[in-house]
């Protein structure tokens, strides 16, 4: 069962500098499925297009082409009117995503009323208290009347999560939900998200640049590079046995306390680390200008090659190992 399916999503931004116009393909034919009770992580460096995918799913950005299809628990497609009841987003910066003029209560009442979850005053108040308690902001009565500046970053992000749950969302898009928070409370917030997911059987899209939390928090991982999904598979597989050269680079670059004594600093020396500043390869594999294994075939865009169970990499290195699978999708047999 899927709650949200993304098919061949493309987003072009037009860039104007003087008279010259060009387009930048921020998202290039991205497809995946979100399944209730499962978390899909979307990882990649800044500028890889992961946030653009999130914004398109939350309908904050219009796709250039491709489809985003939401399915209600009863199996029927979710229409435009109900789309935002179904899909909600938690933003990166809880300092910017809450209105400083409004009380916490107001932030949660509004979606309850607007999405028709509750009518009478008592009903609304009851649900607000319930939501605040679910995100561990108790006693709810003392938090409800405060304003965002009176809360810490972690508490604010909890309010943002409660607000996202208020319309009864089945799909939660979490765009770097903990990167602005202090290290010691990041885990609490992620654990909270995991608990809520379990209680409500939510489908979660977790967008992050942190490979370690992506591995531990999610079931499957998509690795994006310059708009394309270059590798996808089960979380442990992708991180522990990365196949695409870019994923290998990412995994080797992440700080790893197991590798004390700077042994890791010596590896991956062949790949210069100034990625986004380089001109983008105009055709073929996006990564080939940084790739240590670049070869002639890379002038063509590689399809997804299967490199394991539900594990695929967009890289010609695996061309011989398997037949291309053009339609590998999360959680379903290709």
């Amino acid at each position: 069962m899927t709650t949200l399916e993304v098919k061949n999503l493309v987003k072009d931004f037009s860039i104007r500098s003087g008279w010259h116009r060009s387009t930048l393909r921020a998202v290039d034919h991205v497809s995946f499925m979100l399944v209730p009770g499962r978390t899909l992580a979307l990882v990649g460096e800044s500028g890889s297009g992961k946030s653009t995918v999130a914004r398109m799913i939350a309908r904050l950005e219009k796709p250039t082409s491709g489809q985003i299809v939401a399915t209600a628990p009863d199996g029927r497609p979710v229409g435009n009117r109900r789309f935002r009841d179904h899909v909600q987003m938690v933003f990166q910066d809880p300092f910017a995503s809450l209105n400083p003029f409004h009380t916490i209560e107001h932030h949660i009442q509004r979606p309850l009323r607007l999405h028709g979850r509750a009518k009478s005053r008592d009903e609304v108040d009851g649900l607000v208290a319930q939501l605040l308690e679910r995100v561990n902001l108790a006693p709810a009565a003392s938090v409800a009347h405060r304003r965002p500046h009176e809360l810490s970053g972690g508490q604010r992000q909890r309010v943002a999560i409660a607000r996202a749950l208020a319309p009864g969302a089945q799909v939660l898009i979490a765009d770097e939900p903990v990167s602005m928070l202090d290290v010691s409370i990041r885990l609490d917030v992620l654990n909270l998200l995991a608990r809520l997911q379990r209680e409500d059987n939510l489908a979660v899209l977790y967008i992050t640049h942190d490979l370690a939390t992506a591995r531990h928090f999610s079931d499957d991982i998509l690795v994006m590079y310059r708009g394309r999904v270059v590798e996808r598979g089960p979380a442990d597989e992708v991180i522990l046995h990365p196949k695409h050269p870019y994923t290998q680079l990412l995994a080797s670059a992440a700080p790893n306390p197991e590798a004390r004594g700077r042994s890791q600093l010596a590896v991956s020396g062949s790949i210069e680390a100034s990625g986004p500043a380089l001109p983008r390869a105009s055709s073929g594999c996006n990564f080939r200008d940084r790739c240590a294994f670049a070869m002639e075939a890379c002038a063509q865009v590689p399809p997804d090659f299967s490199v394991g169970v539900d594990h695929a990499a967009k890289c010609w290195l695996y061309a011989e190992a398997s037949a291309p699978e053009h339609t590998v999708v999360e959680g379903s047999p290709a």
Partner: protein
């Protein structure tokens, strides 16, 4: 709680020739309506050529301590107690807290430089990078000729791995990683003996971060400066530093070698910080879904093969 509880306790008292900076019993207070004691009784030594990591959460006083060492505080911040001594290469000891005017100006950047938090904002957006590097040289080495300054700018750019052709660029024309490298180049200009790096890689991607860390280590090998590296990213420090100081609410609660901190953390807060960073390749451990178990463990979705039929 002081560093005396750790095995390196004698270290903090040490005044050997091989240390370059000694901080003793430093207190910094923000003298506002209700005074904030931001740094409490901090003592540490920095060995010549050593990389000392300073870890802690936001608001724990890491940056306040760095500013105090570099004498960057202005009222209401006030150093109420303690001493900061710089042991110069030529054997002379400088009491940093007593430096005034010209002496302070001569000391700063020439002997101890700083890479500020957020390279995005630390560079002036309306002048070229070259002008900003040049400014440092004209101020500190007025005798330097134009040609020599040019050569030095090219030299430091090459040191940090940025194409000297970018010297005439404006900051917005450079990527985040390049701007960070420019900041490091600027801090290297006068060949300092100590560099304080305040979250130099926090806003950067892991791959770019890795490149910059490698650069810092290489430069240290070549030029032999000591580094105080401030960050909240403990895994990064474990990999990079010789010793690590853990700060909590203005105090250094633990100071030990990276191995000690990782393998035998003494203070509960150190353990908490270590737990906050899940290991990339290790066991899942206490991370996520402790207590109530995980959706991974509860749902039949653990094995990717099982998910499909639903």
């Amino acid at each position: 709680m002081t560093t005396t509880s750790s095995p390196t306790a004698p270290d903090t008292r040490r005044r050997d020739t091989d240390s370059v900076l000694t901080v003793e019993h430093l207190d910094v207070v923000y003298q506002v309506a209700s005074p904030v004691h931001a740094v409490r009784d901090v003592s540490l030594t920095l060995g010549r050529g050593e990389i000392l990591g300073l870890a802690g959460e936001s608001g724990c006083g890491k940056t306040t301590l760095a500013y105090a060492i570099n004498r960057l505080h202005r009222p209401p911040a006030e150093v109420t107690r303690g001493s900061v001594t710089f042991h110069d290469r030529d054997g002379q000891d400088l009491d940093l807290l007593a430096l005034e005017n010209e002496d302070l100006r001569r000391f700063r950047w020439a002997k101890l430089s700083m890479v500020f938090q957020g390279a995005m904002n630390a560079l002036n957006p309306v002048t070229s990078v070259r002008a900003q590097l040049d400014d440092v040289l004209t101020t500190h080495v007025p005798a330097m000729t134009r040609r020599a300054r040019r050569a030095r700018c090219v030299e430091v750019f090459e040191l940090v791995g940025v194409d000297p052709g970018r010297l005439d660029s404006y900051p917005h024309e450079l990527s985040g990683g390049m701007r960070q490298r420019v900041m490091i180049a600027m801090a290297l200009l006068l060949n300092p003996q100590v560099m304080i790096m305040d979250e130099p890689t926090t806003a950067l991607d892991v791959v770019v971060q890795r490149g910059i860390l490698r650069e810092i280590l290489r430069l240290r090998e070549e030029l032999g400066f000591a580094v105080i590296f401030i960050t909240h990213d403990l895994p990064l420090l474990l990999e990079l530093s010789d010793r690590i100081a853990i700060m909590l609410e203005g105090e250094i609660v633990e100071l030990a070698s990276a191995d000690e901190i990782y393998l035998r953390p003494q203070h509960p807060y150190t353990r908490k910080l270590l737990d906050a960073f899940p290991s990339l390749t290790g066991e899942r451990g206490a991370f996520i879904r402790s207590g109530a178990s995980s959706s991974r463990e509860q749902l039949p979705g653990t094995d990717p093969n099982e998910v499909d039929p639903r």
